[in-house]
């Protein structure tokens, strides 16, 4: 009587029936786990500087207005800063909520709907935010009326 051979778990020759992950999922969950740690570490720096510059220095929140935003986005560094922050924070947050939905929503249909709403919101917010950063006009003309500010050249 032949003794059945049991391959070692990491030999790559484990019978598909014993595999814990289905092939279709691939290693998405591992990539997501790693992304949370990498983006998280970057976001600590990005958001702490964001909060320090906007809320701590100068007059803090009482100095924030349209001119403050115009002043920041006149510098490409802050455009890239805010763009990176937007994308990383939205993806980090979306994945976090995705994990929470998977944990607590027990019905398949509930999970599907909640994640549908989540992904739709994410796409809308990321696209909107990206467009706002790149199409920002510090001296807009609205209904024929030009915005008056000392940094806008009179034409």
């Amino acid at each position: 009587m032949a003794t059945p051979t049991i391959e070692s778990p990491r030999s790559g020759r484990v019978s598909p029936g014993y595999s814990r992950s289905s092939a279709s999922r691939g290693n998405f969950e591992m990539i997501a786990w790693l992304f949370m740690r990498l983006s998280g570490a970057l976001l600590v720096v990005l958001i702490f500087v964001h909060l320090y510059v906007n809320l701590v220095t100068g007059d803090g929140i009482s100095a924030i207005d349209f001119g403050f935003v115009a002043g920041k986005w006149a510098d490409p560094l802050w455009q890239i800063w805010d763009l990176t922050m937007l994308w990383l924070a939205m993806l980090h947050g979306t994945n976090g909520i995705r994990v929470i939905i998977n944990d607590y929503a027990e019905k398949n249909s509930t999970r599907m709907w909640l994640k549908g709403v989540l992904y739709t919101s994410t796409v809308v917010i990321v696209v909107l935010g990206t467009l706002v950063i790149f199409t920002f006009d510090p001296c807009p003309v609205i209904d024929g009326v030009a915005h008056v500010a000392d940094y806008c050249s009179a034409t």
Partner: protein
């Protein structure tokens, strides 16, 4: 009624490990919903300077000022505890010192929040 029929409750292991996990989830959700609102309010710069200034003015009233303290408190905890989670996962001695690291997180959080609260309340209340 026999004791065995009493539900065990939803406590997993309790203590620092589980409570920091709970706090990390709650602060994460709070920050995410603020982020959605924050992108929308900033987007008003594309509507008109007046529309943006009007909405930002609402962030400057004292009640919103206190709300901002809560938001920053959530962000600072989530950030420091997130670094702790990274250390637990990647540092060889992380799992052994996870409790000590949580108390360091709480201590650092308190120091940052005391400093930030003084500064922010001065700005909000015009000190």
């Amino acid at each position: 009624m026999s004791k065995t029929l009493v539900p065990a409750g939803t406590l997993y292991r309790g203590r620092e490990g589980q409570w920091s996990w709970v706090a990390h989830r709650i602060t994460g959700v709070v920050i995410f919903f603020f982020l959605l609102v924050h992108v929308l309010d900033t987007s008003l710069v594309r509507v008109s300077p007046e529309a943006y200034d009007a909405v930002i003015a609402s962030y400057k009233n004292p009640i919103m000022g206190l709300g901002e303290l809560g938001l920053v408190a959530a962000i600072v905890f989530h950030a420091f505890n997130g670094i702790r989670v990274i250390l637990v996962d990647f540092w060889k001695k992380g799992p052994r010192y996870h409790r000590q690291m949580l108390w360091s997180v709480v201590g650092l959080w308190a120091v940052v929040m005391i400093a930030f609260s003084i500064r922010h309340l001065m700005h909000v209340f015009g000190g």
